[in-house]
C-alpha cells in the first residue's frame, strides 16, 4: 500500500510550501555559523556539526544569536540556493521570523504533536504553510 504519510496541523508564520528530507536539531541554530557556500554547520560543539542543512526541512527548537548575524547567515545561504526548504520550530522570536521572510523560507510552529517525537532525521516531510499542514512519511533508514 502506498504510504500517504501522517498529516499534522501547524500554525503558519511565513507562507509557502517546501518539501524535503528532515534534519532534526534539538539545539537552537545560528545560521551565521554555517558555511554559506555549502550549508554545512561549522559550530564545533553543535549537535549538527558537520551536517548539511541545505535544502532540508529543518526541525529545531528556536534560533539564537544577534539579529544582524542571524539574518545575514540565512540570507547568504538563500542567495546560494542552500537555505532549508522549510523550517518547523517550537519557539519563534522576531529575529527568526524576519530571517525567514527575507530568505523566503516557509516557517511554521505549533505542530499538533511534539515535533521531536513525530519527525526524525531522514523522514520525508512536506510543509504546506498556507494550508497549515505538515505531512510526514517515515524515512527508509
Amino acid at each position: 500500500m502506498k504510504n500517504a504519510g501522517t498529516k499534522l496541523k501547524c500554525h503558519k508564520i511565513v507562507g509557502g510550501c517546501g518539501e524535503g528530507e528532515a534534519l532534526v536539531s534539538h539545539e537552537p541554530i545560528c545560521f551565521y555559523l554555517t558555511d554559506p557556500k555549502t550549508g554545512i554547520v561549522r559550530e564545533k560543539t553543535h549537535e549538527l556539526a558537520g551536517k548539511n542543512l541545505a535544502n532540508k526541512v529543518l526541525v529545531f527548537p528556536s534560533g539564537k544569536a544577534s539579529s544582524v548575524v542571524q539574518i545575514d547567515g540565512l540570507f547568504k545561504l538563500a542567495s546560494h540556493n542552500l537555505a532549508p526548504k522549510a523550517m518547523i520550530v517550537k519557539d519563534v522570536e522576531t529575529v527568526l521570523i524576519v530571517s525567514a521572510v527575507l530568505a523566503k523560507v516557509p516557517l511554521v510552529d505549533r505542530l499538533e504533536k511534539d515535533q521531536f517525537e513525530t519527525i526524525h532525521t531522514g523522514d520525508l516531510v512536506k510543509v504546506d504553510a498556507e494550508k497549515g499542514i505538515v505531512t510526514v512519511r517515515k524515512g527508509l533508514s
Binding site: 544582524v68 548575524v69 539574518i71 545575514d72 540570507f75 542567495s79 519563534v92 522576531t94 521570523i97
Partner: protein, 392 residues
C-alpha cells in the same frame, strides 16, 4: 496600507510586520513614536533596506541607524575588500533615501533619538532594547534591524510581547552579593547573567549604589548578547518598578540566582583567552560615551602606544565632535591611538586584523570571532598592554 496604496516599499514593510503580528497572534497594530534600525554593512541588511528604498518608502517616525563604516577613511589606512565596501556604501545610501537619521551609532538613546518614559517604540540593537525598556521605561520588543526599520516606515508595530504589561513581569530574581565597583564589573555581570538565564527578565536585589549610565549600557549590551535579556529591573534605580515585589507583579519569583565575586572572577577568567604579545586594542563596543573617551585619554596622557599595537576607540560622530573640542582626541592621537566614528567591531572593515591577536574591554567584541584571538580585560589593563605591547 497592506494593499499597497502607499507605495510598494511601505507595502513590503507592512508585510513583514503582518507576518510578525500573525506569528504572535497580535490583535492589532499600534502607533510608535520612533525606531532604531541596527543597520550593518551586510548583505541581509542591504537587501531589505534597498527593497524599501527602491519602493519609495520613507520613515514616518524618527528612525536612527547603527554603525556601518566610512569607506574612504578605512581605504586611507588599509585594504577593505571591494565587494564588502560596495555593500556598505549601498546600505548607507539606502538608509539616507528612506529618510533615516544617519546617526551610525549604537547608543542613539543617549543623543540622537531619545525615547521618553511610556513611549511605544521599535528599537533593535543589543544594548538599545534593554536600555530603552528598563532604564528609560519606553516599551520595545527585541527587534531585528529589518522589523525596526519596517516599523519606522509604517509608523506602527504589532501589539505583542513587551508592549503588553503582563509580559514585562520579572522572571528571575538575581541576588547580588558581589561588590560592583566599575563598568567592567557590570560587563562581567551582564555576561554571566545572560549566560545563566538565556531568555528572561532579571530582577536585581542587593545593588545599593546607583549604577552609572556606562555601567547600565555595558550590562545591557552583554546580557543581551550572551543571552536574550530585553528587559531587567534594578528597583530603586530603573524606572518601572520601585520594589522587587512590583517587578514580579505580585507573584513570587520562580527562579533565583546568586552572584558573588567568585562568579564574576571565573567569568573574567574564561574571557582571558591568551596572554603575551598583542597586535591591536579595540575599545567602544558598544560605542564609548564622552566620559569613557575622557577616561581613556586620561590614562594615555603623556604615554606612547607600543609601535606594534594599533589602538582604536569607536564612538559616534556627535561624541567625537565634543571629545575633540575638549582635547581628548588630541591626547589619544598624540599617544598614537585613533578615535574612529560611524563604525563598530562587527563590520567587515577590520579584516586586516583577521589573523591577529587583539584586546578589548568588551566580551561582545570578542564574541563575533572575526579575529585570531581577543583577550577581554578592563580599560586600564587594555591601555597598559597597549603601551607595553603585551598583556601579562
Amino acid at each position: 496600507m497592506f494593499s499597497g496604496e502607499l507605495g510598494q516599499g511601505t507595502q513590503r514593510a507592512m508585510e513583514l510586520l503582518v507576518a510578525i503580528g500573525d506569528a504572535y497572534d497580535a490583535e492589532k497594530m499600534i502607533p510608535i513614536s520612533r525606531a532604531h534600525a541596527a543597520s550593518s554593512g551586510q548583505e541581509g541588511d542591504l537587501y531589505f533596506v534597498e527593497l524599501l528604498a527602491n519602493g519609495g518608502a520613507k520613515c514616518r517616525v524618527p528612525t536612527s541607524t547603527n554603525p556601518v563604516y566610512d569607506i574612504e577613511f578605512f581605504h586611507r589606512l588599509f585594504e577593505v575588500p571591494s565587494d564588502e565596501a560596495e555593500v556598505a556604501r549601498r546600505v548607507m545610501e539606502a538608509y539616507k533615501r528612506v529618510g533615516a537619521i544617519l546617526s551610525w551609532s549604537c547608543l542613539p538613546y543617549l543623543t540622537e533619538n531619545i525615547p521618553l518614559f511610556g513611549e511605544t517604540v521599535a528599537f533593535s540593537e543589543s544594548s538599545a532594547t534593554p536600555y530603552v525598556n528598563s532604564v528609560i521605561g519606553a516599551t520595545t520588543n527585541r527587534e531585528a534591524a529589518q522589523s525596526a526599520l519596517a516599523a519606522g516606515v509604517v509608523g506602527k508595530t504589532p501589539r505583542y510581547g513587551l508592549h503588553i504589561k503582563e509580559n514585562r513581569k520579572g522572571t528571575v530574581l538575581i541576588e547580588v552579593e558581589a561588590s560592583l565597583r566599575d563598568s567592567f564589573d557590570y560587563t562581567l555581570l551582564g555576561q554571566f547573567v545572560g549566560e545563566q538565564i538565556g531568555y528572561g527578565i532579571p530582577v536585581f536585589a542587593g545593588i545599593t549604589r546607583r549604577p552609572s549610565t556606562e555601567e547600565l549600557i555595558n550590562f545591557c549590551a552583554m546580557s543581551n548578547t550572551s543571552g536574550a535579556v530585553s528587559m531587567f529591573y534594578i528597583p530603586g534605580f530603573t524606572v518601572e518598578a520601585r520594589t522587587v515585589e512590583e517587578a514580579f507583579q505580585g507573584d513570587a519569583p520562580k527562579e533565583k540566582l546568586t552572584v558573588t565575586s567568585a562568579e564574576l572572577k571565573s567569568t573574567w577568567e574564561e574571557l582571558q583567552t591568551a596572554s603575551g604579545k598583542i597586535d591591536f586594542v579595540m575599545l567602544g563596543c558598544p560605542h564609548y560615551t564622552l566620559k569613557q573617551v575622557a577616561e581613556a585619554a586620561e590614562l594615555l596622557e603623556g604615554k606612547k602606544i607600543h609601535g606594534g599595537v594599533s589602538f582604536w576607540i569607536c564612538t559616534s560622530a556627535t561624541t567625537k565632535t565634543l571629545a575633540k573640542r575638549m582635547g581628548y582626541v588630541d591626547t589619544v592621537e598624540k599617544a598614537g591611538g585613533h578615535v574612529v566614528v560611524d563604525t563598530c567591531i562587527d563590520e567587515p572593515c577590520w579584516t586586516v586584523y583577521k589573523d591577529r591577536v587583539g584586546m578589548t574591554d568588551s566580551p561582545k567584541c570578542a564574541y563575533y570571532r572575526r579575529f585570531k584571538d581577543v583577550v577581554v580585560a578592563g580599560l586600564e589593563d587594555c591601555v597598559k598592554a597597549a603601551v607595553k605591547g603585551k598583556y601579562e
